[in-house]
Symmetry: C2
Subunit: 421 residues, 2 copies
């Protein structure tokens, strides 16, 4: 049974028809629809000579035993955002399923064990905490912080998880699943416009960007739009507008991205100068020092603008994460795979985080492949990729798996085993 990407396309459509409505995919983690998606996945896996188990964090592990217990792991997630797309997370899982089918049909078992993991709750749509299952496995999950979370319906996280066989306090025990992992491979839709702009079906992800996310609040003086001369205003929105334009310049100059996506003005009426304006600032860069420099420039700019506009400014951190570079050796292999399959390759950073960031943080050599997204759309029902590109992506993942197995089995195990933290 050779690799057949058409099966993956058929699988994708079948799962979409089972778990979507007219507004899009509804496989939010820890809901019956998510459970139904996994039940369907288990049905597909039951046709293969594999072992399937759910770990302490709710991650679903499928193991195809190889000559060595050392394992190459392919990861994805069937959970979606509400009104989500048909590819995000699921493509990875179902492409991995097709790789398992191809391996299972071979005459001899692979030199290393091959595992497929369906991570639990990558999207964070239920509790507002992304990468829940993979962070439990990597060991970065702060259980004390997680304990305070509630579901979209206001139910405490531990009660929700328990219904799905997960004890919050024991989630990090899932770390054992990574003990034998010598490589982690993940295929994902790009969710951005870069590959489409370049006219390329596939790319190799060199790492995930570091993120600095803050709320920046300017405090001026609300005043009547008619009776307050321009030179006597302390306009909080004008200050925020200036900052938003400056951080954009910083990002262009520094090779990162910066986004002011949330803007709230008070009193927020046409006849009043804004006395108060809070904006979100999300800055990302693949390089740690460059990210720090962007943040420092934004802080300086906010102070200068505040002084010039005679308003106050206060920063409040929302979230941050360091850049996470992927494994140089696997990046090389991934590029070879893409070139073999599609002729050309492009290396790019991932702005969004993915489960691969967690495996990389756990010390498992990791890499990702991106397939072109149409119009860069994701997290919506319009999310799409060309069928021929999806087929190429399944082939590229399979080639990457094959090259990884070859490479890993040709060197002594002592040289390829990472020290897990």
């Amino acid at each position: 049974m050779p690799l057949d990407p058409r099966r993956t396309l058929a699988d994708l459509r079948e799962l979409a028809s089972l778990t979507s409505d007219q507004r899009g995919a509804q496989r939010v983690a820890w809901t019956p629809a998510w459970e139904a998606a996994r039940h369907w996945l288990r049905g597909k896996l039951s046709e293969l000579p594999v072992a399937v188990e759910q770990d302490e964090a709710g991650n679903l592990w499928t193991t195809l035993a190889g000559a060595s217990p050392k394992a190459v792991v392919i990861g994805g997630h069937v959970d979606s955002v509400p009104d989500g797309g048909w590819l995000d997370g699921v493509l990875d899982t179902l492409a991995g399923l097709e790789c398992l089918r191809r391996l299972a049909a071979e005459a001899t078992p692979p030199p290393l064990t091959v595992r497929l993991v369906d991570w639990a709750d990558e999207e964070g749509a239920q509790f507002g905490r992304s990468l829940l299952g993979s962070s439990a496995a990597s060991g970065t999950l702060d259980v004390d912080a997680a304990r305070t979370l509630c579901s979209r319906d206001g139910e405490p996280i531990d009660e929700v998880l328990r219904r799905y066989g997960v004890e919050l306090e024991r989630m990090t025990a899932s770390h054992r699943q990574l003990e034998n992992a010598i490589a982690y491979l993940e295929l994902h839709i790009e969710q951005g416009p870069v590959l489409e702009e370049l006219g390329l079906p596939l790319g190799v992800v060199v790492g995930t960007s570091g993120v600095e996310r803050h709320a920046v609040r300017f405090t001026g003086q609300a005043a009547h739009a008619g009776s307050t001369p321009m030179d006597q205003r302390r306009d909080a929105f004008a200050a925020a507008a200036r900052l938003a334009l400056e951080v954009r310049d910083h990002a262009r100059e520094g090779g990162g991205v910066a986004t002011v996506g949330r803007v709230e003005v008070r009193p927020g009426i046409p006849t009043a100068v804004a006395g108060d304006c809070e904006v979100s600032l999300d800055q990302r860069h693949l390089d740690s020092a460059s990210l720090a420099a962007m943040l420092a420039r934004a802080r300086q700019a906010s102070q200068r603008v505040a002084t010039e506009e005679r308003v106050g400014v206060a920063w409040r951190p929302i979230w941050r994460i360091d850049p996470i570079p992927f494994d140089p050796g696997l990046i090389e292999l991934a590029e070879r795979s893409v070139v073999e399959v599609a002729g050309r390759c492009h290396r790019l950073a991932s702005g969004p985080l993915h489960d691969a960031a967690e495996t990389a943080r756990a010390g498992v050599p990791s890499v990702m492949l991106f397939v072109q997204s149409l119009r860069g759309l994701s997290h919506c029902k319009e999310e799409d990729s060309r069928e021929e590109h999806l087929a190429l992506s399944v082939r590229a993942l399979d080639r990457l798996l094959a090259l990884t197995l070859e490479g890993a089995s040709s060197v002594p195990a002592s040289e390829i085993l990472p020290d897990l933290p």
Copy 2:
């Protein structure tokens, strides 16, 4: 009984104690508290030799007969915004009351009739339609448009008005009240920072600014804050920020004001580039041509910014009014009055509209006096003015009334009667 501004201060405090709570004044038009304020006012008026009547629009007219039926009108309004201040509108009414007391105590009746009008619903807090009573009297009220309005509680306007003895269809019949008016005088708190900045207690208002109020909507493309490179963004908020800063420059250069007070971004989350941003733009100028130029520059800027940012832009008119200049002769008299009382005077435009704008539009020579507001605050319980300034303002209004009566009675009536539209 000579003029005694201390009585006005006592009246102001008495009314505030009757119709305010810990959040401020609650004399919203067409409510029991407003009715109570007017009942209290009628009580004060009952001590004077005057006639009091409510007209078809709900305006309360007090008439002190003079030697001629030709009348000088002093106007104010006891209605307030919710959680309003203790001076806005009421100062005018109660200063007028004190002028009537002074005149009533004189040995002879005044050469012309003197009238005090308490306009109904200046603030528009009940139906969202400012200057309701005065626009009915001036004839600018569009009854068909007004018929569609509802109260804050969702009750149709005609049902609410009927409870207060007003038939919507007959409101414009109140125009007859202006037939004998040869001058309209109004004292008001400035509600802005100009006089305080200049260190002056009083100023003369040369007219009300014209207003151009629009919603400007930029339409770009919502995109992931992490995966969308800066050069591929179509950021609707960035376009709005640029416009907001440009219109500010236009206002400074053109001698007007421009305010972006409402800002709405979609999707409005930290991790998404704004695909859509609508802002309000409120531009004001005392000069009609300058206002038109400011608007034209803003339109041009929005088009240029939209092109550069690769977003769409659409304008939607919200409201507009032409500048309304006050009467040059009355401005001269008002300035004399202020100089006599306070030594120095400043001429300024009013950004907010006032009932005087309606009387001016009706062809009645009109003018306003402003008294300094502390910190420019109004429409809030912190609204305040110094007691000594309030006292000076009552004296200035009384001097203006006296000068107007003198001037009007020294020329033949045929020369001072305006042609009413």
